[in-house]
């Protein structure tokens, strides 16, 4: 049996009287990709936002590598090796790739200028970005081009590369294939799998697309009304069964 890297116990998130996530038990094993699926409003997004610290949990516990952790902000989750990869909000479109990679964690110059005035070391950041992009298999013509000028797949690579660069051991993907053309979707799926293989990270994916889920995930977790209503290993199930669990039609 593989090691459990992330475990949620009775995790809940209420917005006023609405129980968006209600007592969810979830385990994520090392090197595993799980997909969380469910209809609109099933609580997928709320669940991962609670795990990644965007929302404060109402009750329940989160364990990382068997140790209980207190996650109250995105910084907390990051400190525990959780990196969340958002689709549209994952990058600042009017910033270039290096600025995006180092946003919020800018590398300062290692001298008086850096210490006194927080002057950034742009050369270092550029070099590191080049290395990072090489690792995720992207070559950019112009590093200083705004991210909005990149293709959807390149943009996604920058976002994913960022998560890996900062040493994320648990990556959470929120709709990674949304708003992309078929060719780009293919590449993003390959990228996610490759990253899992190369860096032995564990991955949670949220997706609407059942076919992508079946390509990516080892295990599929179905949410409905904030509760887990089904959990299947990919090899034991088929798309029809998953869809019927999602919709609740037996």
């Amino acid at each position: 049996m593989k090691r459990v890297v992330l475990e949620a116990k009775k995790l809940s998130k209420y917005f006023g009287g609405i129980k968006a996530v209600n007592g969810v038990d979830l385990k994520l094993y090392e090197g595993e990709i799980i997909a969380i699926v469910g209809d609109n409003g099933a609580g997928k997004s709320t669940l991962i936002k609670t795990i990644s610290g965007v929302y404060k949990k109402t009750s329940g516990q989160i364990y990382i590598n068997g140790k209980e952790v207190d996650i109250n902000s995105t910084l907390d989750s990051r400190r525990n090796g959780i990196e969340t990869v958002y689709q549209s909000e994952g990058a600042l479109d009017s910033f270039d790739a290096p600025a995006n990679l180092f946003l919020g964690r800018e590398k300062l110059q290692n001298n008086l200028l850096g210490k006194l005035f927080k002057i950034m070391d742009t050369r270092y950041m550029k070099k590191e970005t080049e290395k990072m992009l090489e690792r995720v298999g992207v070559k950019l013509k112009d590093l200083s081009a705004d991210v909005s000028n990149l293709s959807g797949g390149q943009r996604q690579s920058v976002i994913v590369g960022r998560a890996v660069y900062w040493g994320g051991k648990i990556l959470i993907f929120d709709e990674p294939t949304n708003n992309l053309g078929p060719e780009q979707q293919r590449r993003v799926i390959d990228l996610i799998k490759r990253i899992r293989d190369e860096y032995n990270v564990s991955i949670i994916v949220i997706s609407h697309s059942i076919s992508h889920v079946f390509e990516l995930a080892d295990r599929i977790v179905v949410l409905r009304n904030g509760v887990i209503v089904g959990e299947r290993l990919k090899k034991d199930t088929n798309p029809n069964e998953i869809v019927s669990i999602i919709t609740g039609v037996a």
């Binding site: 965007v54 902000s73 995105t74 910084l75 990051r78 969340t84 958002y86 909000e89 994952g90 990058a91 600042l92 479109d93 009017s94 910033f95 600025a99 946003l103 919020g104 964690r105 800018e106 300062l108 005035f117 927080k118 002057i119 950034m120 742009t122």
Partner: protein, 340 residues
């Protein structure tokens, strides 16, 4: 006006043709010439250039060293508060209180200097500025898009405060050291111009090279993304209001020097000129977009309108209409640029 225009007319023409040719050729040499991108990069500079050149032709008094320095003196106060407004806009807010803050801080500074001297007066000015900036920032970050209303209220409150302190009468008899920043020259260069240039350089470095400056833009582009990336959005935004208020304080002190007194109506309505300058310079009201360079060109254009129309003998009642027209033009061009 005994000075002669420093360029002869033939020289002027040569200068203009050379400069414009250089810009155009430089742009067209690149293979994918796109007028939109060209306009985004140089449009506002071209407008400035056209203003500048037509004024040089239109008035002999315009292109004199004296008048150029005069323009710098005239725009210094607008420049300072525009940079403040720009900083708040960069982070997705707007500070409408800078004009009144300028006046309020100015009269406080003047009043305090009468009793406690210049040093304490300056200290008071900057402390009050920080307090105003903090209130603006604190209340503006209680929800989304509150800054317009919060800073508008602040504008009224501060103006009232100015009237209460001054009883609508100028405060005079100020110590010489206090009016130094606004009144003196170093060589031929007026102090206010030097203050503005130093501040512009600081802002330019801040936004181009520092982590803090980059975060201000990030927050303006998307507060959601920024918070996902661990940036404390509210704190950054409060800082921008502090910066804006400090700019207003500096402008207020310069203003006191220029008037050699604390004027109750100083800075009244200046925030609108500042917003106009910032918009002309290509800063987006949605936040995040805009450069210090653009702001300064915007400020210069407004400065030219004020100074030049005077020299051309245009009826001053038309001046605001020209300003309005230029702002409208800048915004329409901006919309056109953004269209895909």
């Amino acid at each position: 006006m005994g000075e002669k225009n420093i360029f002869s007319h033939s020289l002027q023409k040569k200068f203009i043709t050379n400069c414009s040719l250089e810009i155009c050729i430089g742009a067209m040499m690149s293979k994918e010439f796109d007028f939109r991108i060209f306009w985004r990069n140089y449009g506002i500079l071209i407008v400035f250039f056209i203003f500048y050149v037509s004024l040089s032709f239109g008035s002999d008094a315009f292109l004199t060293v004296n008048n150029q320095l005069n323009i710098l003196r005239q725009i210094s106060i607008l420049g300072l508060i525009s940079l403040g407004v720009f900083t708040t806009l960069k982070a997705g807010n707007v500070d409408l209180s800078v004009g009144s803050a300028l006046g309020f801080i100015g009269v406080i500074c003047a009043k305090v200097s009468l009793y406690y001297g210049t040093a304490i007066a300056l200290l008071a000015a900057f402390s009050v500025a920080l307090f105003i900036g903090f209130l603006n920032g604190f209340f503006s970050t209680r929800g989304r898009n509150l800054s317009i209303m919060v800073t508008l209220s602040m504008k009224f409150i501060l103006y009232s405060g100015t009237l209460v302190i001054t009883r609508a009468m100028p405060i005079t008899g100020l110590p010489k050291s206090l009016i130094f920043l606004g009144h003196e020259n170093i060589g031929p260069v007026p102090m206010p111009a030097i203050v503005l240039i130093v501040v512009v350089i600081i802002f330019w470095i801040f936004f181009s090279y520092t982590a803090a400056g980059r975060r201000v833009s990030a927050v303006g582009v998307s507060d959601i993304t920024s918070s996902f990336f661990g940036i404390s959005v509210k704190r950054v935004q409060i800082y921008t209001f502090l910066i804006s208020a400090l700019c207003a304080a500096l402008a207020g002190i310069v203003m006191v020097g220029r008037c050699t007194s604390g004027q109750p109506n100083a800075g009244l309505g200046a925030e609108l000129d500042a917003i106009g300058a910032v918009l002309i310079g290509g800063t987006s009201l949605q936040g995040g977009i805009g450069t210090v360079r653009g702001v300064m060109v915007g400020v210069l254009i407004l400065g030219l309108i004020n100074n030049g129309l005077n020299l051309l003998g245009v009826d001053p009642f038309y001046r605001d209409a020209v300003k309005g027209g230029v702002i409208l033009f800048a915004i329409l061009m901006d919309q056109w640029e953004r269209k895909k």
